[in-house]
Symmetry: C2
Subunit: 401 residues, 2 copies
DNA sequence: CCCCTTTCGTAAACAGCTTGGACTAATTAA
DNA sequence: TTAATTAGTCCAAGCTGTTTACGAAAGGGG
């Protein structure tokens, strides 16, 4: 019947799962007493004590100060995530830079390092070597804080075959069918993971975005290209081959300019960073980001009321709104979050975007979903990558003994 | 961390799950010996014997004729699904008809009944009463064959709130906020389920479609409106509120005619059954289906080479292809299946559709996914509904004691 | 025809995990 | 100081899958 996660459950499986149940509740409610954990999980106090003891043995949680919950009675001891135990390493390869980030189990940022690096057209081996060095540096810095990096996740700007660790197509890097596994510096306890930058940026928004994201949203991640990370019920939706969310290649204008993907009038060619800069009459030299980059100058001109700039951004907003209307009809997200380069442009791009979106997303549901603006801007993908590792540890603590 | 299916596992849970594991393997490999089940599941022979005994007690499986697998040795007894035990009832409310269908555990059709019924604009209570009578008839017919209907699922042509059993908006029926629960005749052991017609038609295609559907596809379900059922990894993708897959309201032509949804130039207004009939110069009187209906006449004219008809269908194909290009970029399905009214029109609609699709779905992946044609045509949704019930029983046999 | 080998299915003892109740510990209210 | 209340642990019991052993039913070889 229907391909399904259909593994037999034995005693060991039960234990593993229940360890995760307790650990997840610790993460959500720390510091929390064993008695309260028993209420929260439905286990008996005995079972909770046993499970917590195991988690303590693995260095994942720690007893802390006494907690007094009710009025009377013996106070309990607060169990918390062990802040100086396991950690997750996030890495990112992008066109202009390499980034690394270490998160402890509580998803607190403990280390962060970004180096600018012109990776477009650069030899993949050289890029991966630099990334490897960055990773080694991060692992060492973490160790200096008492943290042990349990695993790493790498964000890459392109379509990739996650099962085999191969970048199938990354037009902005100029990579095709590049294997990325086997980088040293990633030799951690858990095998490294690789994922699309847009997907990981969406997870970054889920865990670190302003306001609690409810776990059902689409994060529009405009960097050089335009991607979308689709999060449903707290998990990334990837489609059959992992290529879902390619927002940038929806057709915005069938008679528009040709695109590197082979199509015509893709959204990227109309609302992508380079297209907007060009339409506004600005140079597209790299790096475009930062206050002094082309993007900063675009914002200046918009603030100054420059007609060409305003027109370019308005057009981009309309195109993006049209594409998002399709997203709403097909994916039905709860919220839309604008990230990446769209974040600083939000004030100007949002009005035309919302107008078109409201028109195209039907009144079958009750109006279009709200369009919010990410406060994370650039760092979202590294954060999401590191958070993914932490989540994996918390969802299956048995991996660490 | 992250809202997740996070229930503690106790002994009873383990049993329930393992019963399902064994039952699913029986369904896939019947007739199958206990020894082979032990290999397939990884359980010991003892455990398999115990679990099978429980399933036999619940009337879900049955011992059959001896099976000789190897050369030498004692033959085993074949365990099969109990064909005359539990059954699933599927029901469908559509604009032109009501339908019912009973499936045994092996998903064999054991009863089927369709009555034409003009439901557009009819009082919801009357429609539900007629459906209830149809259901009671089906349950009685099943009982006559020794089958016990364990539960029912109802397919409805509109957006609905599945949690509360309310039809939010069904424009083609003229229903808004109609509660559909509490219909007698659906008082089965398991509570009845309600779902969108497009979603259930996709499941019908998954289980009964020609050629094994691999569990990752989009089924385009054109009846009066145009919907899409998105199946990922064998399960329906519903989005945050259950409104995903509203293909019919993607904007095909921003300057097109207004739509009942409030938008403009929705795909439905260009490629929907009524729009195509109108463009071909045919009346849109109901029922449109069947060899004598308007649809049959359209096929006649297409076969005869009528220019207006060919032009209308070609235009519809282009619009549908454009919408499907968006689907491919956002959802990344493995296959696209054309069902409903598009099935008989496939010969004429597919070429323009595929041309536009190939153009718009980029070469980032390797070409557009294959476009196949469903052989189920009309009955897909009822079959899917009944199959859903059967699947639920097989995925959780503990529900039946 | 008899006996050995192979395979199927079951029975009894065993091991892992959660449960339930009893018991100790620590704190507040009176 | 005493009673009440809450936190956490200890130990016996129950449920479930595993291990080991054994009887049952077939084919092959002498």
């Amino acid at each position: 019947m229907t391909k399904s996660a259909n593994a037999p459950v034995r005693h060991a499986t039960m234990r593993e799962r229940n360890l995760a149940v307790v650990l997840e509740h610790v993460a959500l409610h720390q510091p929390v007493t064993r008695a309260r954990l028993a209420e929260l999980t439905g286990f008996t106090k005995t079972t909770v004590s046993n499970l917590v003891a195991l988690l303590e043995g693995a260095g994942l949680v720690r007893d802390g100060a006494p907690v007094h919950e009710g009025e009377r009675g013996r106070p309990g001891v607060g169990v918390s995530l062990h802040g100086d135990g396991a950690a997750g390493l996030g890495l990112e390869v992008n066109v202009d830079y390499l980034a690394a980030c270490v998160l402890d189990l509580a998803k607190q940022v403990r280390y962060r390092h970004v180096i600018s690096s012109g990776n477009r057209g650069r030899e993949p081996g050289a890029v991966l070597a630099a990334l490897s060095a960055l990773a080694a540096e991060a692992v060492a810095a973490a160790a200096g804080q008492g943290l042990t990096v349990a695993g790493a996740a790498v964000a890459l700007p392109g379509l990739l075959d996650r099962d085999n660790g191969v970048v199938r197509h990354a037009p902005n890097l100029g990579w095709s069918d590049v294997p990325v596994t086997g980088a040293p510096g990633l030799a951690t306890a858990l095998p490294p993971e690789y994922d699309n930058e847009a997907n990981l940026a969406a997870l970054g928004e889920l865990w670190f975005g302003g306001g609690a994201r409810l776990g059902d949203f689409v994060h529009v991640s405009g960097e050089i290209g335009i991607g979308a990370g689709i999060v449903v019920d707290g998990r990334v939706f990837r489609g059959a081959h992992g290529f879902a969310g390619e927002l940038g290649h929806l057709v915005a204008d069938p008679s528009g300019p040709p695109c590197s993907c082979g199509g015509r009038g893709c959204l990227e060619q109309v609302a992508g960073q380079e297209a907007v800069l060009r339409a506004a009459g600005l140079p597209v030299t790299r790096p475009a980001g930062g206050p002094e980059g082309s993007l900063g100058r675009l914002v200046e001109r918009l603030t100054a009321g420059d007609a060409a700039a305003l027109d370019a951004v308005t057009r981009a907003g309309r195109a993006l709104g049209g594409a998002l209307a399709s997203v709403v009809n097909l994916i039905d997200p709860d919220t839309i979050v604008l990230g990446g380069v769209f974040s600083p442009l939000a004030a100007w791009i949002r009005p035309p975007l919302e107008a078109v979106l409201a028109n195209g997303s039907g009144s079958l549901r009750r109006g279009a979903p709200p369009v919010e603006v990410s406060g994370l801007a650039e760092g979202a993908a590294v954060l999401g990558a590191a958070g993914l590792v932490v989540d994996r540890v918390i969802a299956d603590p048995a991996l660490l003994l």
